[in-house]
């Protein structure tokens, strides 16, 4: 059975990342960032790169940390807690996983940020986008709703049955006003952009999406915990009718249920991370379970956070809306819970039709 706990190294890593985020990504910083022109927090991204956590699963001889997706998942938890605006899921997870699956040493060792140019809703088991065509060393077409595209040095785009690497400078990016402004989207257009094929077929892409979905579950776990903690802390101090509102069972029981669901989220997210790290053939099932569960729990946590804060939770000057927007966008990302359940139906032999 997979190891579902955290190792000492993982706990140390967590402490380091949390320290950095407490320092550089307090929610007020994150909120301010959403109103800036810069799509992400470049200084924070640099600090994470300097810490060595943006290339954890990359082998040491290619300039990485020679660690695994388990450690990466711990970083994801912390970034989720902070709703940090950095292209980690997209660059350090999806981009790295795709480069790894394609076996592209240049991309892995180049110290440049490669991102997948697919709609952020693309699911590992679902239909893949087909709007880009390859033709004699170039690609042409448009991909909508690409997360963090503005942070890319290189875009990895599926086209004509292969996966192609394109210099971001050769693509046209149109920023989109996004529901989650801590992970902004762009529409990306390629117009005979010079492209290099890095993989045949869609295996590399699907593998990257599966790893990404596994890691997203850990981000969601971190965010759900943050929502619960914030809410519990508030309910202890807010008095109405002469009592802390946290002493009312109507609220307590909902939070107890939420906590229960979060303990389960931790187990399924750890399992998915371990499967990704060890190349366990159960990864597709682990990912579908983790996404179906964690997306749902995190949205619930964020919605409860807004509701239980009352009016203050509905204001711009409170972090609850940052959590809610990230939670709901994350639930749509890399496949909705429903899509993951549909995938599961096939994976575990529970089909609707015969």
């Amino acid at each position: 059975m997979s190891d579902l706990l955290y190792s000492e190294i993982e706990n140390d890593l967590r402490a380091g990342v949390r320290g950095l985020l407490d320092d550089k990504a307090a929610w007020t910083d994150v909120l301010a960032g959403t109103e800036k022109d810069d799509a992400h927090d470049a200084a924070l991204w640099r600090a994470l790169t300097d810490m060595g956590v943006t290339a954890l699963p990359v082998p040491e001889d290619l300039g990485g940390a020679g660690a695994s997706w388990r450690e990466t998942a711990v970083v994801m938890e912390e970034l989720g807690r902070a709703v940090a605006a950095v292209p980690f899921l997209t660059g350090a997870v999806l981009g790295v996983a795709a480069s790894q699956a394609a076996g592209d040493r240049d991309l892995l060792s180049g110290g440049r940020t490669a991102l997948l140019a697919v709609p952020f809703t693309t699911a590992p088991n679902g239909p893949l986008p087909g709007g880009v065509q390859a033709d004699g060393g170039t690609v042409t077409g448009t991909v909508t709703s690409v997360a963090d595209a503005a942070a890319a040095d290189v875009l990895l785009v599926p086209a004509s049955g292969g996966l192609y690497a394109v210099e971001a400078a050769d693509a046209r990016l149109t920023p989109v006003v996004s529901l989650d402004m801590t992970r902004r989207l762009c529409d990306v257009t390629f117009d005979a952009a010079p492209a290099r094929r890095i993989a045949e077929g869609d295996d590399a892409l699907r593998q990257a999406l599966a790893v990404g979905a596994a890691m997203l579950a850990s981000e969601q776990l971190g965010l759900a915990e943050r929502c619960l903690e914030t809410t519990v802390a508030y309910l202890k101090t807010r008095y109405q009718f002469g009592r802390p509102v946290g002493s009312y069972q109507g609220l307590k029981h909902r939070l107890a249920d939420l906590w229960t669901a979060i303990t389960q989220a931790r187990a399924v997210a750890r399992y998915a991370a371990d499967c990704a790290a060890t190349g366990d053939p159960d990864l597709p099932v682990a990912v579908a379970v983790a996404q179906a569960h964690c997306s749902t729990v995190t949205v619930r946590a964020a919605e409860e956070c807004v509701q239980m804060h009352g009016g203050i939770g509905f204001t711009w000057e409170h972090p609850a809306h940052l959590y809610l927007k990230r939670a709901k966008s994350g639930a749509l990302a890399l496949g909705t819970p429903d899509r993951h359940r549909a995938a599961l139906a096939a994976l575990v032999d529970l089909p609707y039709g015969s």
Partner: protein, 397 residues
């Protein structure tokens, strides 16, 4: 005992030696079990002389597996859940040397079944309100009162019993805990028929029952603390069993889905997949809980596991009936019987649906578990307690 506790290799060796000296095929089962206990291979984390070797608890599954592989007789733990899961850890924690020696061996071998005389008509969730009186009479106590919902009292040789010994102090302080002989004069067990038709549980009337003071567990007046140990073990026992994927009720429904395509509807498909995900999440959470315990990092997740298990069993057993359609209208047997164990999978879907309703009541209701999580884990403020400082005798009843 200055030697280090045995490790996995040492245990393997000891089991090997034991089996070499006690051929499972040629030894009478009870004799075999007693010898296994005496060799310290019953529950290896218990102390030497009490069925264990002071080994890490995590090594128990390995030992059980080795005995099973050799075709050894089992102690039929399913018949003595309360004994093994609750009475034994309480006796171990609070019993005198004498009590541990007397009770633990026949408990483990299954020679003596135990039951739990806690709940009363007027004291369920609020266990500390109980009114069964124990009055000291020299080196004995005389007990009078009524207990209710006592599972397997009709099978039990012994009971763990909480009583009121001092009505003049607030409720949590005046309680005392005993081991009660279920064959003693004045103990009357009457079956209570339940929604499934049979009677797992009973009413137990205690009339001038004499309990020797040697059968007291813990100090006089310390019964609440002793009970808390029992209840904590109860929740771990209910939520924490290892299961393979699709073990438990979800496996039954998944099999039905695969075998009977004509029953499928889109809504039931959706519900099935949701339940499947939840069952798998609960299973992995249980696995993580066990890994935590093994690593010596026990967490409060046990109450969460029990809460989730109850909800899931109810959801899945309800789904099974809907999926069955017409067959869901039938029931296997309403005959009033007195079972010696609870078996979810061998009975009909209707039984599963009904029996699962007990999962959110027995061992602390789901509402009480939510209170516990909210207050002890999340640290939210407690309920308003109108009864805290009131002497038990003055409480509204």
């Amino acid at each position: 005992m200055s030697t280090a506790p045995p490790d996995a290799d040492e245990l393997r060796r000891r089991v090997g030696d034991f089996l070499a000296g006690h051929d499972p095929a040629a030894t009478e089962p009870l004799e075999f079990l007693r010898a296994r206990f005496d060799a310290g291979l019953a529950w290896v984390h218990y102390p030497e002389g009490l069925g264990g070797l002071g080994a890490p608890r995590a090594l128990q599954p390995q030992v059980d597996k080795a005995f099973a592989a050799a075709g050894a007789p089992t102690n039929q733990p399913e018949r003595n859940g309360i004994g093994l899961g609750m009475a034994a850890p309480t006796v171990l924690a609070f019993g005198t040397e004498e009590q541990k020696r007397r009770f633990l061996r026949p408990l483990w071998t299954g020679e003596e079944i135990w039951c739990q005389l806690f709940s009363e008509p007027g004291a369920g969730s609020d266990l500390a309100a109980l009114g069964t009186r124990a009055v000291r009479d020299g080196d004995h106590w005389t007990v009078n009162g009524q207990k209710v919902w006592t599972s397997m009292a009709h099978e039990a040789r012994w009971a763990i019993l909480v009583t009121r010994t001092d009505p003049d102090v607030p409720k949590h302080r005046g309680m005392t805990y005993f081991v009660c002989d279920m064959t003693a004069p004045g103990v009357e067990v009457r079956p209570l028929r339940q929604i499934t038709g049979e009677a797992e549980f009973n009413e137990v009337f205690l009339t001038d029952v004499r309990i020797p003071d040697e059968h007291r567990l813990g100090e006089v007046g310390d019964g609440w603390r002793v009970s808390t140990t029992t209840l904590m073990n109860e929740r771990v026992a209910i939520g924490g069993a290892a299961t393979p994927r699709e073990g438990g009720m979800i496996g039954v429904v998944a099999k039905l889905w695969r075998e009977r395509p004509e029953l499928r509807t889109p809504g039931l498909h959706e519900a099935l997949l949701r339940s499947w995900v939840e069952a798998e999440a609960a299973r992995l959470t249980g696995e993580r809980l066990r890994q935590q315990l093994t690593a010596g990092q026990p967490g409060p997740e046990g109450s969460a596991a029990k809460l989730a298990f109850a909800a899931l069993n109810q959801q899945i057993s309800g789904l099974e009936l809907e999926l069955l359609g017409e067959d869901g209208l039938r029931y296997d047997d309403w005959t009033m019987r007195r079972p010696s164990e609870v078996d979810f999978t061998r009975r009909s879907p209707g039984y599963r649906y009904l029996r699962a309703k007990g999962n959110s009541i027995e061992g602390g209701t789901s509402e009480i578990l939510r209170n516990i999580i909210a207050e002890r884990v999340l640290g939210l403020p407690g309920e308003i307690r109108v009864d805290k400082d009131v002497p038990w005798k003055d409480l509204p009843k």
